[in-house]
């Protein structure tokens, strides 16, 4: 029987009403009296030396308030990087400067060169066209391996070369892994590309800067997943504004998927320019700008080797990846191919020896950073593809090969530094088999073949590390920030609660699911709990939402703060009931004395806290408000098994998804409806990566896929209905809710099963095709079949 409220209920989302009636408050909906508009003049060449930027004609254009160029920011800090990776030799990564507006050189198409602030957006755009920029184009570095070749043009003159770092993990295992591979009964090798993507939240980025001269306070409204992080980075490292004079607000945000984590130049610019111009300054990205200024995702080129013994047990994995950083280091870019990727290379398998090498490379392209899954999709894709290839080479069932090598004992310490607390990989695979009717596949294949189509079935497993992250651990790994979360619970006199959380909801439904948790803990109706997020003026320091961390870390902070509230409320109730504190029980919104019929309602206790006429003032203070910071003890480890069935049209190479089943283990679940929706969205992005999406540059560094005309976003008729299950639940052992996180699973888990299914379809027709690089567009599939 489904619950009608609290933890485990599919409560309808309260935020939906405003979104469904046009009453949302997105950043572009914010207009401040007297605001000016900024238009950025961006580089249309990938690499070049700036000779001059002549703004004189533009400055005389109607409505122009001021034009800024790189020289206006020479005394201002550059864009900071939040993670330092140490290379195989113990040396820090090479870290180039990253100016707000280009200084001396441009290094990617889209890099801002000048910014026109004007009374209207049209005037700003018109004036920008009158700016005369003289650039001597330099050869562009686009291909990663070419960028590392001797004599390659350098993206940054002040660095030694284009190698950001050469990372080995675990370096001490390198020789043992090499030996195991040399001595293996069988080695399967696969070279692949994890295609570059653009996150494309439907709301483009927006920034509105405001400055109050009377109080010297700056406010930035921005489309961010983590306003406190923006305040810290921009205030402390870029503009030199103390946090008590800087407020950052991220109101309703129209999707993030990682790309709205990072601190961007436009945010710093609008904050800076609002003070410099003494006017609010607003920037709204166009979609075309988004393609050349939002951080991109993925873009790995990898060779993986899987060694097996004579009994098909995995004995070693060695993987070498080139990871594109783009022209500059975006906020968390260095961590993605390393600590979010190398640590996941064990997957669901008890492979004893693993060695991961990653060379991060600068190129004349847009910076690359986290996109839904961030490192974990890249790990999962190569591992689950190579396992599938091994099964085909060995002539064994791909599911049986996986099952044979599953980790079954928990906790399990992998050879890549993490310890899985719980999981049940056979359990999710059992569930997948139950959902997917594998027994009926042969008949479905025959039906497809009767229509002249090929049919394939692909499966894969995945594991991810979520609930990012233990601060002490990530500090050792190079993070320049802590990754706890905070919550303040404020109980009002009449019993309603406001929870101010450092997590940020931009589609995840926290306003509903977080309220469910607090309502359950106290035993009151969800409508009495309000969730407030996205404003540094309300919430203590918070780290925001990414890495499927909100309920696991932010939710835990909220639980801890609510526990403090309950503990204090029990003291008050004990006083009111003239009973011992230890005898007070809280149930269904009332405090009672154990074993008696004496009780006092939640609202009477909260009122007493604020009207302390009959109150233990000698023991506790009036008021009922508590704050907690929660730092996780470990990552969480969601896992699952996915199955995809495709039809391939042999005449055109077009792939269609016929069935897709996902069996996930997210531990405990707060709102099953929301969790299912998160999986759906992740699957669409993973299938989009596998079949449709590709961010392509030409050899001169021009972005070829720079609009929705050329970048193939998944549309409704590209996707099937999904079959999603999350009844396999092994609760997390180290957070109070036993939750693991669900936001990225679909995007991590789905690409390999799609590709495995297409390979299965082609091989069923006798084609000797063992791999096709994503996206598996019709031309690529047709070429693989007929090439």
């Amino acid at each position: 029987m489904p619950k009608d409220g609290g933890i485990g209920a599919s409560s309808k989302r309260r935020e939906d009403v405003r979104f469904l009636t046009g009453a949302g408050n997105y950043t572009d909906d914010i207009n401040i009296h007297g605001q000016a508009y900024v238009h950025f003049l961006r580089s249309d060449v990938a690499h070049g030396t700036i000779n001059s930027v002549d703004t004189s004609a533009a400055a005389a254009m109607p409505g122009v308030v001021r034009i800024f160029t790189g020289t206006d920011f020479e005394g201002v800090g550059g864009m900071p990087c939040g993670w330092q990776v140490t290379d195989r030799h113990g040396q820090p990564m090479q870290e180039p400067g990253h100016p707000i507006l280009a200084q001396g050189k441009v290094r990617h198409v889209g890099e801002p060169i000048a910014a026109v602030v004007a009374d209207s957006l049209e005037q700003a755009r018109d004036a920008a066209e009158a700016i005369e920029v003289s650039i001597d184009a330099l050869p562009a570095v686009v291909d990663m391996k070419a960028a590392l070749a001797s004599g390659a043009t350098k993206v940054h003159d002040d660095l030694n070369d284009n190698l950001c770092y050469d990372w080995g993990f675990v370096e001490e295992n390198k020789d043992a892994v090499a030996k195991a591979i040399d001595e293996a009964a069988h080695v399967t090798t696969l070279e692949l590309v994890n295609n570059r993507l653009v996150a494309n939240p439907m709301e483009p980025r927006v920034a509105v800067g405001n400055y109050a001269r009377g109080t010297d306070e700056s406010t930035l409204y921005t489309t961010s997943q983590n306003p406190h992080v923006i305040r810290l980075l921009m205030g402390a490292f870029v503009l030199g504004i103390p946090e008590h004079k800087l407020r950052v607000v991220a109101p309703d945000v129209g999707g993030g998927f990682g790309t709205k984590i990072f601190h961007y130049q436009e945010e710093a610019f609008c904050t800076f320019a609002a003070k410099a111009c003494n006017r609010p300054v607003k920037w709204t990205s166009t979609r075309s700008e988004a393609f050349i200024s939002d951080a991109h995702g993925r873009d790995h080129v990898t060779k993986i080797e899987l060694a097996l013994d004579a009994d098909n047990n995995f004995t070693a994995i060695r993987t070498e990846t080139h990871a594109n950083m783009g022209a500059y280091l975006s906020t968390f870019a260095p961590s993605v191919p390393t600590w979010l990727h190398g640590t996941l290379m064990a997957g669901n398998y008890k492979t004893p020896l693993i060695y991961v090498n990653v060379k991060a490379v600068f190129t004349n392209t847009v910076p690359v950073d986290a996109y839904r899954g961030a490192g974990r999709p890249e790990a999962t894709f190569q591992l689950e593809r190579v396992v599938d290839k091994a099964a085909r080479e060995l002539g064994v069932d791909p599911i049986a090969l996986r099952r044979q090598n599953f980790i079954t004992e928990f906790p399990y310490a992998t050879p890549v530094a993490v310890e899985y607390d719980t999981g049940d990989y056979h359990g999710t695979m059992d569930k997948l088999e139950e959902m997917s009717d594998f027994a009926g596949f042969a008949a479905r294949r025959a039906e497809s073949e009767a229509k002249g189509k090929l049919r394939g079935l692909g499966v894969n497993c995945y594991i991810e590390a979520c609930g990012i992250a233990p601060s002490n651990l990530v500090g050792q790994l190079g993070a320049r920030a802590g990754l706890y979360e905070s919550a303040t619970v404020r109980v009002n006199a009449t019993g309603g609660l406001v929870v101010m959380t450092g997590s940020h909801s931009h589609g995840q439904g926290h306003e509903t699911s977080f309220a469910q948790v607090v309502a359950e803990m106290i035993g009151i109706d969800e409508s009495m709990v309000e969730i407030v997020h996205g404003d540094t003026a309300n919430t203590p320091m918070g780290m925001g939402t990414y890495g499927s961390r909100s309920i696991a870390v932010g939710g835990s902070a909220m639980v801890r703060a609510t526990e403090k509230i309950i503990a204090k409320a029990k003291k008050i109730a004990a006083h009111l009931l003239e009973a011992a504190e230890g005898d007070i029980e809280l149930k269904d919104g009332a405090f009672s004395v154990a074993g008696t019929d004496k009780s006092v309602a939640w609202g009477d206790v909260t009122l007493a806290a604020y009207v302390p006429h009959n109150y233990p003032l000698e023991d506790i203070e009036p008021g009922l408000e508590e704050t907690a910071f929660y730092d996780p003890a470990n990552f969480t480890y969601p896992s699952g098994a996915y199955a995809c069935e495709v039809e391939v049209d042999p005449d055109t190479g077009k792939v269609s998804i016929e069935r897709f089943a996902a069996a996930d283990d997210f531990g405990n679940i707060i709102n099953p409806m929301i969790v299912t929706g998160q999986v759906h969205g992740g699957l669409a992005q993973g299938i989009g990566q596998a079949l449709l999406e590709n961010c392509a540059y030409d050899e001169e560094g021009q972005l070829l896929s720079a609009s929705y005309m050329d970048y193939a976003m998944p549309r409704a008729d590209d996707l099937p209905m999904f079959d999603v299950d999350h009844s396999s639940q092994t609760p997390c052992t180290h957070n109070p809710l036993g939750v693991k996180g669900c936001g990225e699973a679909g995007a991590i888990g789905s690409p390999p099963s799609v590709v495995n299914a297409v390979i299965d379809a082609l091989q069923s027709a006798g084609k000797d095709v063992t791999h096709i690089d994503m996206p598996l567009s019709p031309d690529r599939v047709w070429e693989a079949m007929n090439g």
């Binding site: 009636t21 439907m202 709301e203 759906h680 409704a716 996707l719 079959d723």
Partner: protein, 161 residues
Amino acid sequence: MTQVQITVNGRSASGDAEGRTLLSSFLRDTLKLTGTHVGCDTSQCGACVVHVDGVAVKACTMLAVEADGAEVTTIEGMANADGSLNTIQQAFQDHHGLQCGFCTPGMVMTAASLLKENPHPTEAEVREYLEGNICRCTGYHNIVKAILAASGQDVGAIAAE
């Protein structure tokens, strides 16, 4: 500048527009009806769909001056007279057909247009009709389900919560 007069959500409204001003900008910036969203600049995403004289239109593909004299309905005009969610809006909430909410106004306006033309669409017809609307959050599953439910069809057999 040209004076543009439209009837929007049943009320007369007017404002000045340049010849190049798009209907989407006119609605958002001049009339402060910010429920209509702009998600791209190539008329691909459909976040800005409104109804002009009863027909679904991407408001970014129409100049404000072209709408002079027209009857325009935006997402702000879709709720029932008492302010409650209409059938389509309610179905989107009931079936979790939205996450971040940014594409949602366009989805609701497109869905209303579909159900006006075809009151009982099949799943395939819904998916085809949504070809001009991009959602990045939901994978479309629950949007399609919500539209089918709004048409009065039983969606109990469709997977998911």
